[in-house]
Amino acid sequence: MRIVEVILAPILALLIGMFFLGLARKIMARIHWRYGPPITQPVIDVIRLFSQKSVSHGNMFTLGVLFSLACSLVLILFLPMGKICPLSSSGGMLVILYVMLLAPFGIALSGGEAANPNASIGISRKLTLALGYEVPLLVILLAVMTHYKTLSIVNIVSMQQNTSWALTSLPLFLSGIAYILILPAILGIRPFEITQAAQEISSGPMVEYGGSFLALATIQHGLNLFIGIALFVNLFLGGAGNPPIFFLKMLVVFVLGLFINAALPRLRIEQAMRYLWRWPTLIAFIGMIIVLIIRR
């Protein structure tokens, strides 16, 4: 049974990721009052990109992209999707935290090899932004871990099954709010699209990504969307008994988030950092203090 789960989970995540990308473009188009591409447009793009013969700047350039996509796939094995959670017992939240940093690190290494200042500026923005949203994210995750006194995410999900959702339980409500505030930054969509800003730094680290590299990068972006939202659903919305309800919850979260963020313009990196280190961090710290008070 585990083998099936190990194979099924990445494929499901891949499909959901692509669906989210297509949905995002469709909703964005609708907001711009135009028809927009079909939902399957990302899949078409990927097929087209795979057929193009791209350019490589050296081994690290190639390996970096492969490594970052592989790490995103690995991360999915740790995230419970409803009942499916292949690698639940080998490290828990800390491994998730650390593998989450691998994907941007892989892209950063390969982008650096591309010997292009646009890529380097993009990477420095990506890492600064990562530091930006990690400050509140770490406080939130620590609050959840100290509240449930466990390191493994499967325990957290099962505890939420019998009691109420974490979002609605008193101590973790503020942490949930803080997580929602930084969700666009984790996913890298609209207001925090600074790292892949097409106009300013010609799509940042992906400036030299040609055919198959760009395809892998788009897939990795899709998986990133999936991971960000799946983590939120697991930690705060009780992560559903069976996969369909889990994907429904993710869909709701994604669409609501998209509506809010589609209207916002792209922030400059200083504004993003100032925002991330001010409101969400404050709320997250208050959440943490509440958890500690209740725990004593």
């Binding site: 473009r25 188009a29 711009h32 009052w33 135009r34 028809y35 927009g36 591409p37 079909p38 447009q41 078409i44 793009d45 097929i47 087209r48 990109l49 795979f50 057929s51 193009q52 013969k53 791209s54 350019v55 097409a198 106009q199 010609s202 799509s203 992906m206 400036v207 030299e208 990504y209 040609g210 055919g211 760009l214």
Partner: protein
Amino acid sequence: MDRNQIIKWLKAPAKMGHKYSLHAIYFCTGCGIIEVPPVITARWDAERFGVIPVATPRQANLFLITGYVSVKTLKAIIRTYEQMPSPKFTVGFGSCPINGGMYWDSYNTIKRLDKYIPIDGWIAGCMPRPEAIFVAVTHLWTLIDKDMADGYKRYRSNYHLYRANQEQLFGELEWPPLFPLEDQVEQIA
């Protein structure tokens, strides 16, 4: 638009992929670029056909050369064209790239663009309207279907000719030749 026919996808995914995901490189060469923003925004919405502007030549497969091409811009156009991944299509906008247009006797503009880089499609008119662009896109689909949009192949096979023309115009070029020149002569496409 045969985008939803699965059999076609299975038979020739690459061709279908190229048809319905034309990423145009956002590179303003001449006066025609003013036509592109209305094409990609709400009123005419090129994204319906899968055409979106992208920032770098590496990510693109469609190259719109809009408006007259001055001698200095031609250098940038050649370098960008050579940086695009191989199945790539170029569309010439307006009359100036075709035969020099109203700058037919100017000392500083290129008269026939296809002497220097291969062009797959032309759109006549001194700044064609957005509908004309969509006609061009659909025309390009048919060319791709019939394998006639083979600008990149022609560039590959006649590279020594193109390179000679470019060197004749510019004298010595700064970037090395894209394909090795010596085995060009007897090369068949």
